[in-house]
Amino acid sequence: MDPKEKFYRHFRDSVDALQDQIDQLTQLSSIGGERQDATDNILAGISKLQNEVADAAEFTPAYDRRQYSDAIKGLQDKLNETLAKFAPKTRFQFRRTGTDHIDMGAPENDPRLNPGSLSRRPRSPTTAPGAARSMAEENRDIVGDLPSTGKNYNEELAKPDLASIRKPSFSAAQSIDISDHDGLHIILPSSASRATAAGCLRNLKNCVIDLSIPTAQGAPFPGLILKDIDRCLIVAGRVNGPIHINDVTNSILVVVARQVRIHNCKNVDIYLHCASHPIIEDCSGMRFAPLPEYYVRDDDPSTSLFWDQVDDFKWLKTSQSPNWTTLSEAQRLSDEVWTKIVPGQPGIGVEKVLAKVGIPPK
């Protein structure tokens, strides 16, 4: 057979096979990487076909070659379309208080200098690009959720966007590492529950952060680190392991964890559910309270609660340590705060939330 004819048949068969595979994608489960495997397979098939077309270029006429490359492009478009349908809906909510935390006078934030390009330009990181910012850039135009890449939701959150609501996707994120923010209200969407690595919140000021949604239904953090936090309200979600709290000041935390270690903190109220003795070291002005009713789950053990049995490494005497105390029932925040104020309401900015929960003004 003529090589040209032979290649044409081979190409047609390959395209048919790939098209079938793309159609079948919808029936595959996204759990356990099944769909991901199939997607990788299809991508490999397309690129193989592309190479074959290039190899066959010497005996295929120009017109045929264009037909071939159009067909390949069609396959890619179809794959992208199919994958886009799978993208989970995000429930991310975002509120801006005002402009006090974004310096509109700075050239990088001036919309007049960059008309139209504002929303596409990520703010440069304010700290050294260390491990916290090592997440790979998004890879969305090829595959929606390559497991090896996480999107840089920190940059997406920090963008000085003109829209009041931003919805960065956490669905591809493997780890939750929220850092370097000032004055944001962040509610982690349930799609972030795919992040199964240890979490980290760092370098946050004047923020309200709620991680409880994705961790409530069976995807608790294996471990969580909170570091360098000032004037924040943080609902840290569930930690099926240790939480390590360092250098937190003037804040309110809600914590469910197996082990709790608190170092170098000052003036922090902690609503705590802990399966072992929490410890503090180099802390002062710490106040402890039990987990608010709103966050208690039915399967939480009601016995052996250690929220008020704090060990102070800097106070080894038997008398009560001066560095911590418990919050009396009257001093605790009411259920209404957790059910209405923390989830956010239209028109209520971060500063208003912080004021309502009793965090002193700047």
């Binding site: 199964t196 690595a197 240890a198 471990g223 570091k227 170092h263 399966a275 072992s276 070291e281």
Partner: protein, 181 residues
């Protein structure tokens, strides 16, 4: 003199193992898992815990000393007569890996630990996104260690992975040295 004493104790099939590492590394949880105790209610260690484990005819006295900053200055009180040092690393804690390296290298300069072998438990490897064995070797600069026999073992205190293997390495290494002298 010390080495004679040490040898005598090895003949008695008794070993003293010192378990150290930063706070939150999982030292107590490792010991509890080996002993078959509940690992879900471990509180951070205020002071130290001694456990005796019978392993292949050897009596292993494991000294598990708390890792909080306040306690680290007391670590030196436990150095004497140590046959093996187990250094536990939290492979999910990239933020403090530098602290971890400095504390470890500081310990290795201690004269009283000079005769001990060093087992590094890279703990919490059941957690996604943890550091690999290669990363631990590089970040802790283990290849710079000239003074001690060392061995890295990725493990998990929660699942029990590689914990027995670690003890077995410690015992085998001690046996070898017994014949050397």
């Amino acid at each position: 003199m010390l080495s004679i004493l040490r040898k005598a104790r090895l003949k008695d099939k008794e070993m003293r193992i010192l378990m150290l590492g930063l706070d939150n590394a999982g030292k107590t949880t490792i010991v509890k898992q080996i002993m078959g105790e509940d690992v879900n209610t471990v509180s951070p260690t205020l002071g130290f815990i001694i456990k005796t484990i019978d392993y292949e005819g050897y009596k292993l006295n494991i000294w598990d000393v708390g890792g909080q900053k306040t306690l680290r200055s007391y670590w030196r009180n436990y150095f004497e007569k140590t046959d093996a040092l187990i250094w536990v690393v939290d492979t999910t804690d990239r933020l403090r890996i530098d602290d971890c390296r400095e504390e470890l290298h500081g310990l290795l300069e201690e004269e009283r630990l000079a005769g001990a072998c060093l087992l590094i438990f890279a703990n919490k490897t059941d957690v996604d996104g943890c550091m690999t064995e290669e990363e631990i070797v590089t970040l802790l600069r283990l290849n710079d260690i000239r003074t001690h026999q060392w061995h890295v073992l990725p493990c998990s205190a929660m699942t029990g992975k590689n914990l027995k293997e670690g003890l077995s390495w410690v015992v085998e290494d001690a046996k070898k040295r017994l014949f050397l002298y």
